[in-house]
């Protein structure tokens, strides 16, 4: 029956499939599109009436400098004068370094703290204290403590991202059901096997929650860090530089870049989580 229907309508398969796609996803596309367009229209209106000094969204295309930045992201004139792609990549590299360090330290320490209640008791106050310190507050200290700005920026990423990973890992390890531990005890499973077959799989959902929160925080922190630590290539400093020279539409373009990259990072972690933990 399906085959028959197929042959009859073979002439307009494409339009048919388009229609069914639209039927399924129409609302999901239409409503957000309406929302975004109305937002931009209102913004444009407000800017054109002069109520706010903020340039209209159309300025991204109308301003020459900004249009260049938009259309040539891979431009490299040496020094700090690079296209937005390179700026973003520089920031992302720092995030990757700091975040990797945070993940290694956070997961490792989290497992230690989660399995050893005494260590937990000893370290918990320090953790709770340190995690309350805003990323920006670390900047002066790290600039004094560390030899160069690059390393300082990476450290700020690290110190921001490590807490959610550490705390979620700890909880994940503590939350391993007593049943699983009992199975391990009765079977006298070796520590290595317990770690690989029971502890890690059981705590993994918690670890991923921590990692996902941390990637967002790390991306937030890099912008702040780069704004303060001037003189490095990076999207954060780019914004600061543009603001100093009053290129406001460049700032807006960079903000769009930041938002888009942050969104992509979060989706990437979600995808990774789905790939590794298909059942969760």
């Amino acid at each position: 029956m399906v085959a028959k229907a197929g042959t009859r309508s073979s002439g307009n398969t494409f339009s048919e499939s388009m229609r069914s796609f639209w039927k399924k996803n129409g609302q999901g596309i239409l409503l957000p599109a309406i929302g975004i367009i109305s937002f931009l229209v209102i913004w444009q209106f407000l800017s054109s009436t002069g109520i706010t000094r903020l340039p209209a969204p159309s300025s991204i295309f109308t301003e020459k400098r900004t249009r260049e930045l938009l259309f040539y992201p891979f431009l490299d004139r040496g020094g700090l004068d690079k296209g937005l792609f390179w700026q973003t990549l520089a920031s992302l590299t720092r995030v990757a370094q700091g975040y990797t360090a945070a993940a290694i330290v956070g997961i490792g320490l989290g497992i230690l703290v989660g399995t050893k209640p005494k260590v937990n008791q000893a370290l918990d106050p320090i953790f709770q204290f340190l995690r309350m310190i805003a990323p920006l507050a670390w900047v002066p200290i790290t600039l004094i403590a560390l030899p160069n700005v690059q390393l300082a920026a990476i450290f700020v990423i690290f110190i921001t991202a490590v807490w959610p990973i550490l705390i979620n890992t700890t909880v994940g390890v503590q939350q391993i059901p007593q049943d699983y531990k009992n199975v391990a005890r009765v079977l006298k499973i070796s520590p290595r096997k317990y770690f690989l077959k029971i502890l890690i799989p059981s705590a993994l959902p918690y670890i991923f929650t921590g990692l996902r929160i941390a990637i967002g925080l790390a991306w937030l922190a890099i912008i702040a860090a780069e704004i303060v630590m001037s003189g490095v290539v990076g999207i954060g400093f780019f914004i600061w530089d543009a603001y100093q020279q009053n290129y406001v539409s460049e700032v807006i373009l960079a903000v769009i870049y930041i938002g888009a990259v942050g969104l992509m990072l979060d989706r990437l972690m979600a995808l990774l989580q789905r790939l590794i933990l298909p059942n969760q």
Partner: protein, 667 residues
Amino acid sequence: MSPFVAIEQVGKEFALGSGERYIALKGIDLEIRKGEFVSLIGHSGCGKSTLLNMIAGLDLPSDGVVMLEGDRISRPGPDRMVVFQNYSLLPWLTVRENIALAVDEVLAHLSKAERYEIIERNIDLVGLRHAADKPPGQLSGGMKQRVSIARALSIRPKLLLLDEPFGALDALTRGNLQEQLMQICEESHVTAVMVTHDVDEALLLSDRVVMLTNGPESKIGQILEVDIPRPRKRLEVINHPSYYSMRSEIIYFLNQQKRIKQLRARKKGAIARHGLEKVNLEIGFVPLTACAPLAVAQEKGFFTHHGLDEVSLVRESSWRGIQDGIAGSYLDAAQMPSGMPVWLTLGGMDGKSLPIVTALTLTRNGNAITLDERFLTQGVHTLSDLKRVLLETADKRHTFGVVHPASMHNLLLRYWLAAGGIVPDQDVQVTTIPPAQMISNLQADSIDGYCVGEPWNVRAAVEGIGYTIATDLEIFPGHPGKVLGVREDWAQAYPNTHVALVKALLEACRYCMDEANHEEIRAILSRKEYLGVDINYIYLGDPNPMVCDVQEAPKEYAHHLFYGQGVNRPSRTEHLWMMTQMARWGDTPFPRNWVEILERVCRVSVFSTAARELGLSEITYSRGAIQLFDGVTFNTDDPIAYLNDLAIKHDVYMADIHLDTALPKAV
């Protein structure tokens, strides 16, 4: 040979948040033989899972030791594999990987091929070949539990521990799994301990059922041997003749635990008033026509009249409940079968002597022997007819029901059978069934007849299920039926209360004897809180003549005697006769110090005081020697010679029964 598992004086305490300690288990002693299947049963919170965990080594006892083959258990190990209540499968591994995790770890000394072979065989054993590569999340509860069992069996544990393994499953799955588990256990001779709260499951699977009392300080209340032959089938075990008595034994135990909890919560100290030491009494009774004096004393205000303002009558469904209530001091006094005071005093209950005194006989007569209707078609009208039918059907097992080993029904039935040349426990079985369940058992053909008090004989006759072959008038006319019993220490602690209680009940007995009151009493008894049966089954005087019309010449029906000359005074002669009968059937030893025992049990002085104060001294008349229907006169001077002269009897033991000097003890 030392036992396989030995649990010695094990106790377990838990620290409560408030710094107090909760004693969950205390003084647990249990030995488990190799190859045995033992169930632990009890209410929630009785510590049965804790006990299992201590055998597993997951939890350590606060006191005592648990030993496996002589080695103290101090930590968990694969030789004691646990099947957990919630399966405890690792959700990120497949069925095969879950089993492999255990096998690879525990049987690491085997080659890879051997381990593989074990894993595959165990997957097949529980029939999960089709699901071997699925994660547990895709399996049903029953399948998960099968994986859990396969994992446990695959590592060949010495001891299999199951913690409510089928608790979360639906009835059909549970039944199938029980059979599978039973089969596996029998094939591989596994020793197993299972925690359950399902009585039928325990009976089906176990060799022994260990019943735990309620916490705190839970202990082993009772151990039931399940002697149903193996291999067992789920649908066939229920046909085993002792299945229902074992089942009701466990259910009785569990209900009793629940009741004790309620009584404990209600229990308050003695309230002294009106010159009496205690006016708040809990008096136990079993719903029978013979409970009329208690019901009347309550309803007509005789208790209150004698100062006992706060009497509550506690309805027990069996004499076992009375016995346990008195032994556990939950009841102050109780209506008892006439043999129970002597029986408890001689250590009939678990071989421990519990001195009981009686100062009043509440009723006489009112009992009869009922046979299944089918004997009537075989022409059984007399005892010799019955013997003839029993001889003709010697290959069949015949069972008679009585209400308690110490009740007159048991003694009368056995005496009657023996007089006809039928040896109890050999030619016929005698089993204990609560009075109210006699008819349903007779109807279900699990018994062939019974000896019980009214209204259950009348009712069987009226409903055409059975017929009365003999009444007590034909066996032992005027025999004591029910007596008032209290603990000796209670009687010493509350002497004035005891007299007041006897006075109130004696007046009630007199009230019951007056025929003018019979209609009123029948109406009271038929109420729900007493017998709860149709008024037409309750007779205080002569019942419907149709009951005994199987005889060519209908005999006089032995109606209850509640009051009269020589009726109520406790008689040492009668108690001695009961003592000899219990010894005759090997139930209790015959005491060499029988004179002392009788003096202690029969409180004639309390009765005399009560009767005198009521102005009823004319009834304190002592009865003469006893003569029963077979013409044998009971000689009170030499009971031992009487026992020796009996032709049909079991092994008779003689013993000195040492009674503690009873000291007044507040209960």
